[in-house]
């Protein structure tokens, strides 16, 4: 992805954002709802499993380390803060990049190679407004909410491990979890997730639109979209954390 591609992707994002003003049209609204349903609700299963196990792993590792100092009661703090600040948005971003981003790139890539996009243009339908804007809108709404959902599931998973394996009562676990977490952690995490949603949509749609060479090109575009999304999520996560906490 060279600088020209970065510029094109940014332009794609700007055009899609500009198309949000048509959200009140019924056709657009239906597309947005459908995208939110597909990208959000249908991802809940995998997100739930990943989030619960992430929380469990976090709690277990932290609890084992802290048990040496008889401080295992504080795993709630560790799980809550790490889930809110980093793990929640990060895990959500990775899952959506793998599930949704790849699907977006493959779908748009297939439409490109089968000249459906060209047909839309011939019918004077703006493909960005018709295809990218609903996806962008859906991802901008759903990614932060899914990130929050991931955090809650992770904290519950950590609580299960704390109760079952580390003998930390629920009330103490949640008391410590809520005691040290701040609203800043929650909203910075959600902001991060919002950025991840924007990145996933932009990169995936751009790679989909840039597909060439038929079915092979679709596969390459999908793979490339996922890799770039992963890297962009990691780098953006570091930058946002540095911006708000360093």
């Amino acid at each position: 992805m060279n600088l020209r591609a970065v510029g094109k992707a940014a332009l794609l994002l700007a055009l899609a954002a500009a198309g949000i003003r048509f959200i009140y049209r019924k056709r657009c609204r239906i597309e947005v709802y459908a995208s939110m349903y597909v990208y959000g609700i249908k991802s809940l299963g995998v997100i739930t499993v990943v989030a619960v196990f992430t929380g469990m792993i976090l709690a277990l590792n932290t609890g084992i380390a802290m048990r040496d100092f008889h401080q295992e009661a504080h795993i709630g703090t560790a799980v809550m803060v790490s889930m809110l600040r980093e793990m929640g948005p990060f895990m959500t971003g990775l899952i959506l990049a793998a599930c949704v981003g790849s699907a977006m790139a493959a779908q748009l890539g297939t439409m490109v190679v089968s000249e459906e996009i060209a047909a839309l243009e011939i019918m004077s339908i703006d493909p960005i407004r018709f295809l990218v804007m609903p996806r962008l809108m859906a991802m901008c709404v759903m990614t932060p909410l899914l990130s929050f959902y991931t955090c809650i599931m992770g904290v519950i998973g950590g609580g299960i491990v704390g109760k079952q394996l580390l003998d930390v009562p629920w009330d103490i676990y949640f008391d410590n979890a809520l005691r040290w977490a701040k609203n800043k952690d929650l909203f910075v995490g959600m902001f991060k997730a919002f950025l991840f949603g924007v990145i996933i949509t932009t990169v995936s749609c751009y790679e989909g639109f840039a597909t060439t060479h038929g079915a092979v090109g679709v596969g390459a575009a999908t793979r490339k979209a996922v890799i770039i999304c992963f890297l962009a999520i990691l780098i953006t996560g570091l930058l946002v954390t540095g911006l708000f906490y360093y």
């Binding site: 239906i30 709802y33 459908a34 939110m36 349903y37 959000g40 609700i41 809940l44 100092f69 401080q71 909410l145 929050f148 959902y149 809650i152 809520l178 005691r179 040290w180 977490a181 701040k182 609203n183 952690d185 929650l186």
Partner: protein
């Protein structure tokens, strides 16, 4: 077909709506919980000045008699010290959870070896009146667990290593033990002789024990006076008892003044006076005899010559 599409669209909207409502409601609840505010609670502010806060941070607990009543809201470094602002949580309408008295104590303590801190408030004696929470309170200088431990170890090290310390005492004791061991090895002293290969002392001890055994056997057999005394046969005891009885009778008679000796010992001095008279008379007789002896002698010589 059109109905199916409409139905599908409605389903999607319902599911999305339910999800969004739940998540947004959860988000709102979570935001409220993380803000630390609770319904029915009232917050009271309190200001304490410390010379040193030993790493106390915002959100550290404030504890009264072991019970958390609030947290550290903020800290400010000023020329007269570190001003710590506390946020105490009490039930609405019941006032502050602490009643500060004249002899209050506010200190920063370590919560664990990992270095957590908390602020403890001792309200003071109930004999005094309440102080207003709006005043600036003075905190005590904190005790750093690690520095206290380091100081303790330093003192221990000094006590162990300095002159006259434990180590030197142990060295001297070891030297003494070594000297005793050397003397024992050399067979010096009674214990050394006992432990030495020379068995003279052992033989003496053995002979002594044999003699003692013989004496013991003689005593067991009732031989000799002591043996008879220890024997089962109580003849000696009976004799002794009879003798003591006879002596008691004699003593009683003497006490009553019976017999010549009793009369002599009695408080009645008639016999004593009579005896004195006899002695005086005997003395007079002797004097007379002494005076007449030369005459008698001369006369006997004179008449003897004839």
């Amino acid at each position: 077909m059109k109905k199916d599409l409409f139905s599908n669209e409605v389903n999607i909207e319902v599911v999305l709506g339910v999800f969004l409502v739940f998540v947004v409601f959860g988000l709102a609840y979570f935001t409220f919980m993380l803000s630390g505010k609770k319904l029915g609670e009232q917050k009271h502010r309190m200001e304490v000045v410390f010379n040193d806060v030993m790493g106390l941070r915002t959100k550290d607990s404030v504890v009264v008699r072991g019970m958390p009543v609030g947290e550290v809201a903020s800290l400010e470094l000023k020329p007269d010290g570190v001003h710590v602002f506390l946020e105490l949580v009490g039930k609405r309408g019941q006032g502050a959870p602490v009643r500060m008295k004249k002899d209050y104590r506010i200190a920063i303590v370590t919560t664990s070896i990992l270095g957590g801190r908390m602020l403890t408030i001792g309200e003071g004696s109930r004999d005094y009146g309440d102080l207003p929470l709006e005043m600036v309170f003075n905190g005590q200088d904190p005790h750093d667990l690690m520095s206290d431990t380091a100081e303790l170890f330093s003192s221990l090290r000094q006590g162990l290593t300095e002159k006259g310390g434990v180590v030197e005492g142990l060295k001297e004791a070891a030297a003494d033990i070594r000297e005793i061991s050397r003397r024992l090895n050399a067979g010096k002293g009674t214990l050394g002789k006992l432990l030495s290969e020379d068995d003279t002392l052992y033989d003496d001890l053995k002979a002594g024990v044999a003699s003692l055994r013989k004496v013991s056997e003689r005593l067991d057999e009732g031989k000799s006076t002591l043996g008879k005394l220890l024997a089962d046969d109580d003849q000696v005891y009976q004799d002794l008892k009879a003798t003591v009885s006879a002596a008691r009778k004699i003593a009683e008679r003497l006490e009553k003044g019976d017999g010549t000796l009793g009369k002599l010992l009695s408080e009645d001095d008639a016999l004593y006076k009579e005896f004195v008279n006899v002695v005086q008379e005997a003395k007079a007789v002797l004097d007379d005899l002494r005076e007449t002896t030369p005459v008698v002698t001369f006369a006997s010589i004179l008449f003897g010559a004839f």
